[in-house]
């Protein structure tokens, strides 16, 4: 049972290729993640799948419906929470929901019942008569998710659902997304540049960079592919270490931001020898840490760079400001 089928989907803006011939299949009931840095092409992909953007080439079907041949058919069966805010600030929470329900032609009684239920679910029922412009970022996000579910879509797109939210709200939303998926069997496709989010929520992940899918599998499989363990070394000589270090039990090493990430077999066993090698060659070492590979390491392994959290943090702040009140 395939919920989404994508084949060589491509989007070009002028000469620039934002999404470059990507292909994947998502099964019904899956939570599928598109993980990638800013500008990777995540939103562009979602926009094409939700019929807001015409693909330059390639094909895609959502719930078996061709996204180019039957746009209305696709639109009826999907729900979407956009990356950027899309609420009417001058309307109340209830009115925003009601507007949506009317657009999807949900009969009055069912509409009112569902709005009540959903507002309860996202804990906004006591604010339902407040104008959205008085809401915090987290409240807006929760309202948008409730709205995306109002017409009971079988596929839900979440574009960076927890962008800029505090840890507590994020956790809460994660729980909520998982519950939705399990109790209602909704297929969810979400984009994120948070590693922990992808790890926590997604059954499968496609790592996307510069418009291309560079790896796709379950989080555990992806981590296994990096192999064994990871030792991260902070050092002023990081470039030399990355270039020179070698041993039969070392799979590889990547240098980034004054650190070297060394992938190796059974780190506990080999760490003493590794430290001895450092000493022999006279590298200055600031700190060493051993851990199991994370998605961060997977990303580094495939792209040779990290999704820098501080960079992401800065963009989040800018975005949140843009999402905030503008009068």
């Amino acid at each position: 049972m395939t919920a989404i089928h994508v084949e060589n989907l491509t989007k070009r803006f002028g000469n620039f290729t934002a999404v470059d011939a990507i292909s994947f299949d998502i099964k019904k009931g899956e939570i599928f993640g598109l993980l990638g840095p800013n500008g990777a092409g995540k939103t562009t992909t979602i926009s094409m799948l939700s019929t807001l953007l015409e693909p330059t080439s390639g094909k895609a079907r959502v719930n078996g419906i061709d996204i180019q041949k039957d746009q209305d058919g696709v639109r009826k069966s999907i729900g979407i929470v956009f990356q950027d805010q899309s609420l009417d600030e001058e309307l109340t929470a209830w009115e925003n929901m009601d507007f949506h329900g009317r657009l999807y032609r949900i009969p009055k009684e069912i509409r009112e019942e569902r709005i009540t239920d959903l507002l309860h679910l996202v804990e906004l029922e006591d604010r339902k008569e407040s104008l959205v412009k008085t809401f915090s970022g987290g409240m807006r996000r929760r309202l948008e998710i409730a709205r995306g579910l109002l017409h009971e879509p079988s596929v839900l797109f979440l574009d960076e659902p927890t962008l800029g939210l505090d840890p507590q709200t994020r956790n809460h939303l994660w729980e909520y997304i998982l519950t939705l998926n399990q109790t209602k069997g909704i297929t969810i496709i979400l984009t994120t540049h948070y590693m922990d989010e992808a790890d926590r929520l997604c059954g499968r992940i496609a790592i996307i960079d510069q418009g291309k899918i560079i790896a796709m599998d379950t989080p555990d499989e992806l981590k296994d592919r990096v192999g064994g363990d990871v030792v991260t070394v902070s050092s002023p000589d990081s470039e030399r270490i990355a270039a020179e270090i070698s041993a039969p039990w070392i799979f590889g090493a990547e240098q980034h931001d004054g650190q070297v990430t060394i992938r190796l077999q059974s780190a506990e066993e080999h760490i003493t020898e590794l430290i001895r090698l450092f000493g022999e060659r006279g590298y200055a070492i600031a700190s060493v840490s051993i851990h199991k590979p994370t998605l961060e390491d997977v990303f580094l392994h495939y792209t040779g760079k990290t999704i820098r959290e501080d960079e992401a943090g800065a963009t989040d702040r800018i975005r949140m400001r843009m999402m905030g009140r503008r009068h």
């Binding site: 807001l52 209305d72 639109r75 979407i80 009417d88 001058e90 009317r102 657009l103 999807y104 503008r326």
Partner: protein, 250 residues
């Protein structure tokens, strides 16, 4: 029809809530009415008129002005929806763009007619003498047509604009000329000859004359000609607006 109503309802709700906008956009028409009406009333003699004074002559023009500005502005408002992201919510729904466009147009026209009605009521207090109820109805018919025509015009413009930067440009080089050429402030016969053709291709001219016929019982252009010309312009604007909005990107 449900969808058109949904969009209409939203426009009207937003309008009713924006007290400052309601009062703000009454400012200029009221200023024109008072300053020109009272200022020039004793100075200006309307040629060929049956003794009507300038204030009476001016009222229909200012009502039309109020409807014009409010409707163009409400059409252009979809640029705000674009910038605030709300347009995406509407466009990703399984509804046609034509329905969205019509709902937006009718919503804008409704608020514009209400703004015009404010001026009309105000005018009754400062000396406008109503002739008949039929005349009153005729005036509202023309106000509605102006509202629809120019709300659709605003949407057509907004579909071609990326953001609000071009707004001043549109106001100064499109909307003010439409107002100025329409015979809202001066009788058409008294205009220089080379201006008259421009006046006659301006749809607002027929709206102003139509309202004038309704409220004063006389007009420079026959009311049925006004109705035909303004009606045709309205249809054209809706078609153009709908076509451009269909192509508009988000």
């Amino acid at each position: 029809m449900d969808i058109v109503y949904t969009l209409w309802l939203r426009s009207v709700k937003r309008y009713v809530r924006s007290k400052s906008r309601i009062v703000g956009s009454l400012g200029m028409p009221v200023f024109f009415l008072l300053a020109l009406g009272f200022g020039l009333n004793s100075v200006v003699q309307i040629p060929g008129g049956g003794g009507e004074d300038y204030l009476q002559f001016l009222v229909p023009g200012i009502i039309a002005m109020s409807v014009l500005f409010t409707s163009v502005f409400s059409g252009i408002q979809i640029i705000w929806d674009k910038q605030f992201g709300f347009l995406k919510e509407t466009l990703v729904a399984p509804v046609s763009r034509l329905e969205i466009m019509l709902g937006q147009t009718l919503g804008g026209a409704t608020t514009a007619v209400i703004q015009g009605a404010f001026i009309l009521i105000l005018s009754l207090f400062i000396g406008l003498k109503l002739t008949t109820i039929t005349g009153f109805v005729i005036a509202f018919l023309f106000m509605t047509l102006i509202g629809i025509c120019f709300a659709a015009f605003g949407i057509a413009i907004a579909s071609k604009m990326e953001d609000m930067h071009g707004f001043q440009l549109i106001m100064n080089f499109v909307v003010f000329p439409i107002f100025g050429l329409s015979g809202a402030l001066f009788p058409i016969e008294s205009l220089p000859e080379w201006v008259i053709p421009l006046t006659l291709i301006d749809p607002l001219t027929y709206g102003v004359e139509g309202i004038r016929y309704g409220l004063l019982g006389t007009s420079a252009i026959h009311p049925l000609v006004c109705l035909a010309a303004l009606g045709a312009s309205t249809v054209v604007m809706i078609v153009v607006g709908a076509l451009l909005f269909r192509k508009a990107s988000i």
